[in-house]
């Protein structure tokens, strides 16, 4: 986690990509959280950055090789408005992740960890690489 002089440029590039590939203004959701997607040979892991969201406010569903994560980040302090500063994003959010390779929808597991939602999606056996022995 060391910083180079190009980090801000990378961040700008990434934010622009997110603007153009995200659902944008046509979505009725308040915001779409950042997702890091990781993979290895047997599974995908999606890490969703949703600090301050309770476990029971999140819905995860799977259909047609795509994963949908939606929920609502409420602010319990909304009623007592005497805000000096309000920067944290609140409201409904949604992200859809489409997978390139076939995944096993029935075996998806999810856990919350310090404000990150970790969703593990195992790849289907057909998608795994097959080793070929040379005779």
């Amino acid at each position: 986690m060391y910083r180079t002089i190009f980090d801000d440029l990378y961040r700008l590039n990434r934010e622009m990509n997110r603007l153009f590939t995200g659902p944008g203004k046509y979505s009725n959701k308040a915001y779409w959280p950042e997702v890091n997607l990781y993979e290895n040979q047997s599974e995908y892991v999606a890490v969703v950055s949703i600090p301050g969201v309770e476990k029971d406010k999140i819905a995860i569903s799977y259909k047609d090789n795509s994963l949908k994560i939606s929920g609502e980040k409420g602010s319990e302090n909304e009623a007592k408005t005497n805000y000096h500063l309000k920067e944290r994003k609140t409201g409904k959010f949604e992200r859809n992740i489409m997978f390139q390779e076939k995944v096993e929808g029935g075996k998806i597991g999810a856990e919350m960890k310090n404000g990150f939602l970790l969703v593990k999606i195992p790849k289907s056996p057909e998608a795994k690489p097959v080793t070929i022995a040379i005779k």
Binding site: D7, Y38, E39, S49, N77, H84, L85, K89, M112, N114
Partner: protein, 127 residues
């Protein structure tokens, strides 16, 4: 007093060294206290450091561990970095009674006002 105007903007940009960003934060005020809420995902409770020095409140937190290890990254939208942000309290907060609560990646600080800073209602007697 508006705590927001008293933010100590630190120059945290360096070309070498640990990377810190200013986390998103909410500040609001009730009759008896100020509340500051920070979004700091990915941080363990023990890695949060809150200190008040010369009436400046500084919150520093570091992500020591990656959420997953041993995977290749396919889609990269956020970095894990440290968080730091500080506010000048200007003698309105009882600094000995600051409380902190960390839950689900959100740090909530409760800063009780000093007795003389609390809003007092004055009743006008009508005769």
């Amino acid at each position: 007093m508006n705590l927001r105007k008293n933010e100590n903007i630190q120059n945290v940009e360096t070309t070498r060294g640990y990377s810190y960003v200013a986390p998103d934060c909410d500040i609001f005020e009730t009759d008896g206290e100020y509340k500051i809420v920070f979004d700091i995902p990915g941080v363990e409770k023990d890695d949060i450091n809150i200190k008040v020095e010369k009436e400046v409140l500084t919150v520093t937190a570091e992500c020591k561990k990656e959420p997953v290890e041993g995977y290749g990254c396919v889609n990269d939208e956020f970095d894990l970095s440290g968080y730091t942000r500080s506010f000048n309290l200007n003698n309105v907060v009882d600094t000995t009674k600051i409380e902190a609560d960390y839950k689900n990646g959100t740090l909530e600080l409760t800063l009780p006002k000093k007795e003389e800073q609390k809003t007092k209602e004055i009743k006008i007697k009508v005769s």
